[in-house]
């Protein structure tokens, strides 16, 4: 058992805060490895120690392996927590940590190479007979063979140019009788666009749901799954709203998918927290990939299971976290997470940067706010636009949706625009409420972004009145007593 004293954090924003807090609860010191653009952030203020590892550009700081390792060693850290994004799934970084006597908080570099690399992951899954998206990537490109493969895969099937991309040479087969025409057309297009007529076949999933399983390997290498999350609400493959558990799984599906998740994780000798992603359509599920790290949406799993995944990671890294066979976990209630992005929902999600004014989160039972920035901090254009996560838990899904809508309506961020109005519209959408949403949800219903509910001149008129009222405090000092906690609320206590 390794006794650790100090953990380096190779990340920023809300996840850095999340890790600092977990460390503090375990009596561990923290060293924040940050870029010089991030000195106005909550993590910078909360960490025990801070070391600047480079300028704002990620390639020179958060993605710079040498700088991170050097700073962690200089700070006397025992371990490095990579958070998510940046170097968290970089096998070379994990390996450099291992070589330099730093414990990488996550799976081993071998595991990251085996499960994180798409080619090696696919061959591992194939060998183990686990379900991948059915397809054909063979060398036999004769028409009879391709037609045979189409039938074996099952319609609809998409034909893709092997050398292609960007939709060219891509044809959708929805009927067997048109298969030949579509294949030949794809081959011609592939040849003229890419100089090769070779095509791939893949089952076309037009209404798939994104389901993932949280996996965790303890200090002894025993792997369990901690149930599922659904993240079907995505925009350009970026998740926006996640929930646990999925409203789409039957008991049987959950059991089967959980088994597959544990099998692949065990094959990869998984230790620490990770996620196995699936696509689900018509009660058939397909392995997509393994994320060999803590996931952005890990809090929804924590909420339904009453666990602390980051603490579990820290304890596992020290060799003292072991699942006991008696420890049976059953998810309770429903949890939803919304990612708050600094962007303008009325301008197709255009990024919004600037100095933050008031940032106010409406605390309440089972409302959780993970945020990295406060009033006075600056949201810079250098990094991901996610500035906070709002997580709620309630007895069932519909109550959790109501709680989330109310919580978001009462959340205030001044200084930058946020996607909060967009999130509210999505949560309130009939298809989201029904739980039937697929990964096509956003492009089907929200491709145009949001239309403003109020005219510009109306907003300007309000702004004018408010600005005037703010400049003349006497005008509202008396009336503002209504919202002052001192005068009204203490009476009769």
């Amino acid at each position: 058992m390794k006794k650790m004293k100090r953990i380096a954090i190779a990340n920023r924003g809300e996840v850095a805060v999340r890790i600092i807090r977990a460390c503090e609860e375990l009596g561990l010191e923290t060293v924040l490895l940050h870029s010089d653009a991030d000195i106005h952030s909550r993590a910078y203020r909360l960490a025990t120690k801070t070391i600047c590892i480079g300028p704002a550009a990620t390639s020179l700081s958060y993605l710079n392996i040498e700088a991170n390792i050097g700073a962690a060693i200089a700070a006397g850290a025992d371990a490095v927590h990579p958070g998510f994004g940046f170097l968290s799934e970089n096998a070379d970084f994990a390996e450099q940590c291992e070589k330099n006597g730093l414990t990488f908080i996550g799976p081993s570099s071998d595991t990251i190479r085996k499960l994180g690399d798409k080619v090696s992951f696919k061959s591992l899954a194939k060998t183990a007979g686990l379900p991948l998206i059915p397809g054909y990537e063979g060398q036999d490109q004769s028409l009879p063979e391709l037609l045979k493969q189409v039938e074996m895969i099952g319609l609809p099937v998409i034909v893709k140019a092997a050398a292609g991309g960007g939709g060219r040479g891509m044809k959708l087969i929805t009927e067997l009788k048109t298969a030949q025409v579509q294949i030949e057309s794809a081959q011609r297009e592939a040849l003229s666009a890419f100089g090769s007529s070779q095509v791939f076949l893949e089952k076309y999933l037009e209404r798939a749901k994104h389901i993932e399983f949280q996996i965790f390997g303890d200090s002894t290498g025993h792997v369990v799954h901690l149930f599922d999350r659904e993240c079907s609400v995505q925009r350009r493959h970026q998740k926006i709203i996640e929930e646990a558990t999925s409203p789409s799984l039957t008991v049987e599906l959950r059991r089967k998918m959980g088994e597959v998740a544990c099998t692949i994780a065990t094959l990869g000798k998984y230790q620490s927290a990770g996620t196995v992603e699936f696509l689900l359509q018509d009660n058939e599920f397909y392995l997509l990939e393994v994320n060999t790290r803590l996931q952005v949406e890990h809090p929804v799993t924590e909420e339904v299971l009453n666990v602390d995944l980051v603490k579990m990671q820290l304890l596992t890294a020290q060799g003292n976290f072991v699942f006991s066979p008696q420890d049976i976990r059953i998810p309770k209630g429903h949890s939803i997470e919304c990612r708050v992005y600094a962007e303008n929902p009325y301008q197709l999600g255009m990024p919004s940067t600037g100095k933050l004014g008031l940032v106010s989160w409406p605390e309440g039972p089972r409302r959780r706010f993970e945020f990295g920035f406060e009033a006075g901090d600056v949201i810079t254009p250098h990094y991901d636009p996610m500035i906070a996560k709002v997580i709620v838990w309630d007895e069932n899904r519909s109550r959790a949706i109501e709680k989330m809508i109310r919580t978001l309506k009462d959340s205030t961020v001044f200084g930058v625009h946020t996607n909060i109005p967009y999130l509210i519209e999505i949560l309130d959408h009939q298809e989201f409420r029904s739980g039937k949403m697929t990964t096509k949800f956003i492009e089907t219903y929200f491709a145009e972004g949001l239309k403003p509910k109020h005219a510009d001149e109306q907003i300007r008129a309000w702004a004018h009145a408010i600005n005037k009222a703010m400049k003349s405090p006497n005008d509202f000092s008396q009336r503002s007593d209504v919202v002052s906690p001192w005068t009204s609320h203490w009476r009769g206590v």
Partner: protein, 128 residues
Amino acid sequence: MNKTFKLKLDGIEKAVTAEVVDKKIWFKLYDQVFSCDLIELVDAGFKKAKTISKSPDRILAPMPGKVTKVFVSENQTVQKGDALLVMEAMKMEYTLKADISATVEKIFSKVSDQVTLGFLLVQLKEHK
């Protein structure tokens, strides 16, 4: 610093939280955050509203809003009670009329201009 106070808007008293951040006013109303360029408010009229005093030969915007119609042109003669232009705000139309008989000396706004309270719209020259 942000402030929370009650304000009568659209005829109803509402709780408003507001703050000026980097030359913009941000406020929360009807469960939603809005922002508005302060420079637009100040430069286009708010400051001027204080310096320009009211007088019958100066037609000032009685409210922030949009100019939707201009009935007159420069050097035109108008009689007391003639409509000069129409403004629109909060879905309400407001017709600005001449209080005096005069000649239109200068017009400072055109259709679809957004103006703030007190913005000088038309300068008249009174007929003695």
